[in-house]
């Protein structure tokens, strides 16, 4: 009895959320491009061609897990999420935080000892792990600078370009 009431209540709440949130595939189209520029200090931002990747991948869930699209690809996700019909927001940053190693975030992840997802990559890693794994496998461009043009600060950071060491051979420092 009780669980049924909770179920109904939950259903109503979910319906409300679904209605109020943007739903892809209903009226909102997926974005044609996505600007990725959180590292824009060392690199210029990347304009990610979302349309192109929609065309060449086998479906949204290749990247969006069970959150969106056509069924679950990863069998580890499927153990719990096989029935998931996609959710109201497919945005990466909903789950992948940009600062995964702050004390606050580490404490939050550890607060509930029953929490299953204790190992969620941060946003930067979520992108790279998804993008690069595929790019390397499919022999798509996979050097850093293939996607990221470096800024002056970036060249300084890598001691590259005009900041490259003058004498390549000096101070060999291996003992």
């Amino acid at each position: 009895m009780k669980s049924r009431t909770i179920g109904i209540l939950g259903g109503i709440i979910l319906a409300l959320i679904l209605v109020s949130a943007p739903v892809f595939g209903m009226d909102n189209k997926p974005p044609a491009t996505v600007m990725i520029d959180s590292l824009s200090h060392l690199f210029t931002g990347v304009e990610f061609d979302h349309n192109l990747h929609v065309e060449i991948t086998e479906g949204c869930s290749v990247c969006h897990h069970h959150r969106f699209g056509n069924g679950v690809v990863d069998e580890n996700c499927a153990r719990c999420h096989s029935e998931c019909q996609g959710t109201f927001s497919p945005t990466c940053s909903d789950c992948h935080v940009s600062d995964p190693f702050t004390g606050k975030h580490i404490r939050e992840m550890e607060a509930n000892p029953n929490r299953y997802h204790i190992d969620i990559p941060g946003l930067k890693a979520a992108y790279h792990l998804k993008c690069l794994t595929c790019h390397i496998k499919e022999e798509a461009p996979s050097e850093c600078v293939d996607c990221h043009a470096r800024t002056d600060a970036g060249n300084r950071f890598y001691h590259s370009g005009k900041y490259a060491p003058a004498d390549g051979d000096k101070n060999k420092n291996h003992e």
Partner: protein
């Protein structure tokens, strides 16, 4: 001039072997087993994620204001550098506290596997226990840090470290210094921030967190992807456990890891070694502490010292 061979070192010390027991050596003897501070932080290095971009090396260089590198950090020809008849790859040095090396192990069919390397911040560091002037400290956050002010330059820690990490700098003959990764303790860790390399890594090949949680995460990654990983977390038990631990897709010995290490602290070995020549070492702290106290006006380095019951 400072170059004393190991043999020579013992000869010199044996000559003046009247046993002078000084508290610092005593402490090393009396130390009980210690399995790391309960809230120690650590880093899980997942080698299956590393792409060899060397961003971590660049970040380390910047964070610690290290000298200009020999080659740019985006020059991947460094992976071809080998030493000692091709048996050894690049190592950490006084100018690079972390290095990334490339391997082409049999197990991956020759596909490259990259291995980042730095001080592993042992739970019971051999560098610390071998140092008789207590230049090393294991902080409660897990970092093994070093105090150049008390170091006498004997280089015992370099011999004791099972991972050959501490490097010696010859930059100043009067103030010899050991240089190694300090987990960014002074600039980041003690403020609750992750080390610079971790923050910079694009792949999160480096995961920062409580060591206890990292061990759970590591085993969970293996359980979810048994085909992807070797069923071992390197550093969980090696030499009594280390704060930095590794996951790999190929057997660790094919990536230059020492897989013959004992699973209890090196301390035990150091202890029996110290037992073998107690009076030899006894004279050194007295002598150098004397010099040192004269030089420093008696300032000690006792804060935050690992508790030696």
């Amino acid at each position: 001039m400072r170059k004393i061979s190991r043999r020579g070192f013992f000869k010199v010390t044996a000559a003046g072997s009247s046993a002078v027991a000084v508290s610092s050596t005593k402490k090393a003897f009396g130390m009980k087993e210690f399995h790391g501070y309960p809230n120690s932080m650590g880093v899980l290095v997942d080698l299956t994620r590393c792409i060899g971009c060397r961003t971590c090396e660049a970040a380390c260089n910047k964070e610690h204001g290290l000298p200009e590198p020999e080659l740019p950090f985006d020059d991947f020809s460094v992976f071809d550098q080998v030493y000692h008849d091709g048996k050894e790859k690049r190592r950490t040095s006084d100018k690079a506290f972390t290095v990334v090396n490339r391997y082409n192990p049999k197990a991956s069919g020759g596909e490259p596997v990259y291995r980042k390397f730095q001080c592993n911040h042992c739970n019971e560091p051999a560098c610390l226990t071998s140092c008789f002037v207590n230049a090393y400290t294991k902080t409660k956050e897990g970092a093994v840090i070093y105090n150049p002010d008390v170091c006498v330059g004997c280089r015992m820690c370099m011999v004791a470290c099972p991972f050959l990490v501490p490097a010696y700098t010859y930059e100043s003959a009067l103030h010899p210094q050991i240089k190694k990764c300090n987990f960014c303790y002074d600039t980041r860790l003690k403020y609750g921030k992750p080390p610079a390399c971790v923050e910079a890594c694009p792949q999160e090949a480096l995961t920062f967190g409580h060591r206890k949680t990292l061990i759970k995460i590591a085993h969970e990654r293996i359980r979810e992807n048994p085909k992807k990983y070797v069923d071992h977390v390197y550093g969980e038990t090696e030499v009594g456990g280390t704060s930095w631990m590794y996951l790999s897709g190929v057997p660790f010995d094919q990536l230059g890891f020492n897989t013959d290490l004992q699973h209890h602290p090196i301390l035990d070995n150091t202890k029996s070694f110290l037992g073998f020549v107690p009076m030899v070492l006894g004279i050194w702290p007295a002598l150098f502490m004397g010099f040192h106290l004269l030089a420093k006006g008696g300032k000690g380095n006792d804060e935050d010292k690992q508790s030696n019951k």
